[in-house]
């Protein structure tokens, strides 16, 4: 109950063997996840080389996310990532079960950065809303009929993002750029799922207030 029961873990063999055509995609993703899981379990079992693999596997996501939390203060992020991996290494000596290492590391990083920022700026707990989340977007490769249309689209987007609070930006980034589920976003930001939903609902409300919805939807549904 408290631990990862071996009986709940499907055998590697059954995951890697495609049963039929339909499950090929699923198998592909499971295979990717398995190699992550394999690195993780090698690390958990005390394989020191695997620690470097864990580092290489997750450091990019941590860096990208971290840079947005600290408004580009690179040294602060580097220090925080250092602390996160040192903590991870120490944790490994214990029996704590980490089911989702990437999520776990992102969460620890967030806490570490907030701690460091609070110390540096003398902020209190409640001030988290004032910690900026700096993120910029560009249009992904999409065909537009004209340069004007593209410019218009970008302007709409700019308005949307400027209407968001810092935490709304963070939630959106975690979900769309890092691919976390809303449940994970909630857990990461120490909120309950309902609060994340409210957060998102409020940001959409603001968008609606700012833009005439019909125009807005027109722009985002064309192409």
């Amino acid at each position: 109950m408290l631990d990862n029961k071996p009986s709940n873990t499907p055998s590697r063999h059954s995951i890697l063997t495609p049963q039929n055509e339909q499950c090929r995609t699923a198998v592909f993703f499971e295979t990717l996840a398995m190699s992550e899981a394999e690195i993780w379990s090698r690390f958990r079992s005390g394989d020191q080389d695997a620690f470097a693999d864990v580092y290489n596997l997750y450091v990019d996501d941590l860096y990208r996310y971290g840079m947005k939390m600290v408004d580009g203060n690179r040294d602060l992020v580097i220090d925080a990532i250092h602390d996160v991996f040192v903590k991870l290494y120490e944790l490994n000596a214990s029996s704590t079960v980490v089911l989702n290492p990437r999520f776990y590391l992102l969460k620890v990083l967030r806490g570490q950065i907030l701690d460091n920022l609070r110390k540096e700026r003398g902020l209190k707990r409640a001030d988290i809303s004032r910690i900026p989340f700096t993120v910029e977007y560009r249009l992904s490769n999409e065909e537009f009929s004209s340069a004007e249309q593209q410019a218009e689209m970008f302007e709409r987007y700019r308005q949307v993002v400027s209407a968001m609070t810092e935490r709304q930006k963070e939630a959106i980034y975690l979900h769309y750029s890092l691919g976390l589920s809303y449940d994970e976003v909630a857990a990461l930001m120490d909120m309950n799922v309902q609060s994340v939903r409210n957060l998102i609902h409020r940001s959409v409300e603001r968008i609606r207030k700012m833009l005439k919805l019909s125009t807005f939807l027109f722009f985002f549904n064309i192409v």
Binding site: M1, D3, V59, D60, T96, Y137, M191, I200
Partner: protein
């Protein structure tokens, strides 16, 4: 709501975030720094307790309490046989809400656990926060104390696993006894008992006595609650209360509850998930009076809550995520119960909206 999500999808799937990437040189330098602070210094780090730092962090009050504990625990560790019952009431009592960090109380020291709320017993030692503390004798009395606002795991010497809820205390012998295994609980724990037919396992509270072979179950016995309960997930246990002659055998998905003021006993079928949801950071409320809800919130978050007496019997149902902030939780309750909160002089004041 789904419309909202669709709207966001329609925007954000068309954009990608601009990323500043970690350059290779920094990547390498950062790794070298991490490796230097972990792999190479590992030996020294894990074997050297930071004694001086820990000492500095004690306040005068807790130091006094510590001395008391050390004396009593030390006394008992010399005066117990492997199978003799522990005289729990005599073991120094101080309460989880009075401490800030999780504590492992050993005969010769108190280990404050700050980083990793998980303690593991191995032959001859106990590991807390990555540090090994040697165990001189297998019948030393150890205490594991979890303050309000935290939960923690212990893996006992016999391999049994215990999740300890906020505001709870677990007392046991370092080696878990000879032919009889025994733990004492004040508060709430979930136990996954290692199966060993030859060494029956007993859980005691100040009023209950639960006998087990190998099984998973939840015991709840908080001093500030009238009812103590045992909820069985799997296996089989028998329960007795106070000095009753009779033992009651309960089956999986049954809850044995004992009212400590009128000595009423009930055994009923219950949705087990509700009783062990706290392990996943959830509080499941089924027509629960606000009085009860606020008491639990006080325990989980270690915050003081005051409320108008007219609210105490308002009942609410639902699922609360108690890993979110106390503000979020109070806000969620407010949505259901029609209350609002304000923070004043270190207390959360709840009033009707």
């Amino acid at each position: 709501m789904n419309k909202d999500l669709d709207l966001l999808d329609s925007i954000f799937t068309r954009f990608e975030s601009i990323e500043q990437e970690l350059d290779n040189q920094t990547r390498k330098m950062l790794w070298e720094r991490i490796a230097r602070d972990t792999l190479q210094s590992n030996h020294a780090r894990s074997l050297t307790p930071h004694a001086s730092r820990r000492r500095r962090l004690f306040t005068a009050v807790s130091a006094a309490a510590a001395v008391l504990i050390l004396c009593l625990a030390g006394y008992f560790s010399f005066h117990t046989e492997p199978d003799s019952p522990i005289n729990y009431d005599s073991v120094a009592q101080y309460f989880p809400h009075e401490i800030e960090n999780i504590q492992l109380v050993l005969p010769d020291r108190i280990v404050e656990i700050r980083k990793n709320p998980s303690v593991v017993y191995e032959p001859g030692c106990v590991i807390a926060d990555g540090v090994k503390y040697p165990i001189a004798q297998s019948d030393e009395i150890h205490q594991f104390i979890v303050p309000f606002g935290k939960t923690a795991d212990v893996q006992l010497a016999d391999g049994s696993k215990v999740r300890v809820n906020a505001g709870s205390k677990l007392i046991y012998k370092s080696g878990m006894g000879g032919t009889r295994r025994q733990v004492y609980v004040n508060g709430e724990v979930f136990l996954d008992v290692f199966h060993d037919e030859n060494r029956p396992f007993t859980v005691k509270t100040n009023r209950l006595d639960v006998r087990v072979l190998g099984t998973e179950f939840d015991v709840r016995a908080y001093d500030d609650e009238e009812v103590q309960s045992v909820v069985l997930v799997s296996g089989s246990v028998s329960v007795s209360a106070d000095l009753l002659d009779q033992r009651y055998r309960i089956s999986p998905e049954q809850c044995f509850s004992y009212n400590t003021s009128n000595c009423d006993i009930s055994i009923r079928q219950v949705p087990v998930e509700n009783y062990i949801a706290w392990m996943d950071g959830l509080m499941i409320l089924d027509n629960a009076p606000l009085k009860e809800v606020f008491r639990q919130i006080n325990r989980y978050y270690n915050v003081e809550i005051v409320y108008d007496s007219s609210l105490e019997n308002v009942r609410i149902s639902g699922k609360l995520d108690i890993r979110s902030s106390v503000e979020d939780t109070l806000e969620t309750i407010g949505l259901v119960a029609g209350t609002q909160y304000r923070f004043e002089e270190g207390k959360y004041c709840i009033s009707a909206r």
